[in-house]
């Protein structure tokens, strides 16, 4: 079964450094997402992406964050000047959706996540 793949599985970085988290969504999916989960807490929406642009973003997704689809397969999340509170598991997801409704009748398929540790 097709799956969403994420690299790296674990990233350790120093505060103030930039990190790029990478994802390869399922090939025929049109909608891409980043969520994060701080240890032991709930999963939080960061951003959704469709047709090469951000379709929605949360208040967490400030100027420190950016997303990009640099080619036909990869989807990246860049965090500039990381802070201690950015430490979390970051999940990429994709959905098939429809033009009318990205989530209609189709669940999000999540990758295995990248555990980001900021020291």
């Amino acid at each position: 079964e097709p799956e969403v793949t994420q690299t790296p599985s674990h990233q350790v970085t120093q505060m103030g450094q930039e990190v790029i988290l990478r994802c390869v969504p399922i090939s025929n999916h049109l909608y891409f997402y980043w969520y994060r989960q701080i240890l032991g807490q709930k999963v939080e929406f960061l951003v959704s992406f469709y047709n090469n642009e951000i379709s929605e973003k949360s208040e967490i997704f400030d100027d420190q964050f950016s997303v990009e689809r640099p080619d036909g397969s990869n989807f990246t999340l860049k965090i500039r000047s990381t802070k201690l509170e950015d430490s979390a598991m970051y999940f990429c997801a994709s959905s098939e959706g429809t033009v009318v409704s990205p989530l209609y009748n189709s669940p999000l398929h999540f990758g295995n996540g990248t555990r980001l540790t900021v020291t």
Binding site: F45, S55, Y104, L108
Partner: protein, 113 residues
């Protein structure tokens, strides 16, 4: 703003017993999702519930949706150890853009022999 509340947050049960996890949401939602997460792993889709009265079953798990009560339930029948995991419900606000899932805090289920 859509809020999703799950209870209980922690559930310890014996093998063979039945139990229900509840998921309440605060505003109109036109679909409800259940996910399973094993420790350190990704979120695995279990059910997508699209309409009032929807019921879906897979093995020992059954999910239902009551949109009038803004309530979804995940019922576990004759629990087995392999069901130990964290279960999340998530809703989509029907008045919004349809891009965002709002998750509950999750229910950590431990099934003891």
């Amino acid at each position: 703003e859509l809020k999703v509340e799950q209870n209980p947050l922690f559930l310890s049960m014996q093998e063979g017993k039945n139990y229900t996890i509840y998921c309440n949401y605060s505003t109109t939602s036109d679909r409800l999702y259940w996910y399973r997460q094993d420790p350190g792993k990704s979120l695995e889709s279990l059910f997508v519930l699209l309409s009032n009265g929807a019921v879906k079953q897979e093995g020992r798990l059954m999910a239902s949706l009551d949109t009038k009560a803004r309530l979804s339930t995940l019922h576990i029948t004759a629990a087995v150890h392999d069901l130990s995991a964290t279960y999340f419900c998530a809703a989509v606000y029907s008045g919004g853009s349809n891009y965002k899932l709002t998750f509950g805090k999750g229910t950590l289920l431990t099934v003891n022999p």
